[in-house]
């Protein structure tokens, strides 16, 4: 099992490709995520960002290539097996159970890890960390997207992850709400490794150390937030001018 890269990496992808029929959504993705870091992934709509998350978390099977987590090959493992190994995620379109309340959704996620009286305490604890504890009794179908994003964070935390993948956590939030969310993410960072996909560069860039830019299924550019913001090619394909 010495195929993977340096020891600093908690997650490594090697030559990942994913084809949907004739469409190559991912072509040869090689990434290493450092332990204890926050990494950003940006890129145009359709560049393969969510597909990459889906491959890493076992929702999609890679056409080619391998994923290593903590030096172990996890390519092809089922989503629940991957959660058991310590990788959790949130979704671009929140995947809460619509007919359950926010509390019941978080509780459901807690059932996997906790038992007995701890379930209720943990439900409350994660709701508080995600700052959704004031809206626990509303059915998920009746709450706005911003609340569902927080609910998903609480649900993801309930699985005790060491690596957390967030898919567009800032989408649908106002500037002030984005700032609150940034504080939540920074708080998590002390304990776990995070990878964040988002288009809201104003809010993403200040919280990440490194950014991978995807374009047409490939890693187009990798650098610090400053390097990415300065790069003319990134501005051209993705930002459409200078970053505001």
């Amino acid at each position: 099992m010495r195929e993977c890269g340096s020891k600093g990496g908690i997650l490594t992808t090697q030559g990942i490709a994913k084809h949907f029929g004739g469409l190559a959504a991912l072509k040869d993705i090689n990434l290493e995520i450092e332990r204890g870091s926050i990494t950003g992934i940006i890129g145009p709509n359709g560049s393969g960002k969510t597909t990459l998350f889906n491959v890493i978390t076992g929702y999609l099977k890679a056409t080619k290539g391998n994923v290593f987590y903590e030096e172990e090959k996890i390519t092809g493992a089922k989503p629940y097996e991957i959660v058991n190994k310590g990788i959790s995620r949130t979704f671009q379109v929140p995947q809460c159970c619509k007919l359950l309340t926010i509390r019941e959704n978080i509780r459901l996620a807690c059932l996997r890890t906790y038992s007995g009286e701890t379930i209720e305490a943990k439900t409350r604890e994660f709701a508080a960390i995600a700052k959704i504890d004031r809206h626990l009794e509303i059915e998920a179908k009746n709450v706005p997207i911003g609340f569902l994003r927080k609910t998903e964070i609480a649900m993801a935390l309930a699985t005790n992850p060491r690596l957390l993948l967030l898919d567009e956590p800032f989408s649908g939030l106002t500037d002030l709400e984005c700032q609150e969310f940034s504080a939540i993410v920074k708080g998590l960072r002390e304990k776990i490794t995070l990878v964040v996909i988002d288009h809201k560069l104003k809010h993403l860039m200040p919280i990440v150390e490194k950014v991978h830019v995807l374009n047409e299924g490939r890693v187009f550019f990798t650098g610090s937030p400053e390097e990415v913001a300065r790069n003319r090619d990134v501005q051209k394909i993705y930002i459409g001018g200078e970053i505001q």
């Binding site: 911003g146 500037d175 709400e177």
Partner: protein, 239 residues
Amino acid sequence: MGRNASLTIKGLEAGYGEVPVLMGIDIEIDENEMVAIVGPNGAGKSTLLRCISGLIERRRGEIWFLNRKIGQLSCDDIVKLGIIHCPEGGKVFPEMNVEDNLLIGGYLQRKSERKKQVDLVYHLFPRLRERRKQLAGTLSGGERQMVSLGLSLMSKPRLFMMDEPSLGLAPILKKAIFETIGRIKREQRMAILLVEQDAFVALELAERSYVLDNGKIAMEANSKALLEDVEFKRIYLGI
């Protein structure tokens, strides 16, 4: 002033189950005016649009459209009057191609009129002409949003309500979408009600804006004035 009201809402209350969401809303939009509604998550922005388009029942209050009470009408009757609601998240018919999506949107129009509207949508979104035979479900997020807006335009709205048209779009596409919304505003005669979480963009486009907070109108002002308002900047933009 010579104002011609398109939409007038008085004391509107609505909610889900026991949870009240809108608690006495008063809003007015003139014909050919663009109004933005901004506010935090949970303020009631989408609920307000759903209430106007008849998707959920109001509990109290009046909704007037072109001098006619519409609070009791069904969704389809409201659409026939010319109120079109483009929901959040680029909703399209994924198994149908782009052009068929547009044609569905024009089901109220005569055939010749439908053709004209399709051309108008292609004129506003040239990308869609290139993709006309592609299944909508296989489009990128930005293209789906274009189809969703185009589908809404097909029925020649007199009041066009857009819910978060920039949700999940890359910066470059977001610019493109808002440029087109600006064009729709300049070139088409209709009232526009824009719900958007990016307050900067929304307030730049709309003449007037309402800030919705906790089911109530917290502020109503000329957009320029609002962008300068210290209280607004602190509470809403976090600066």
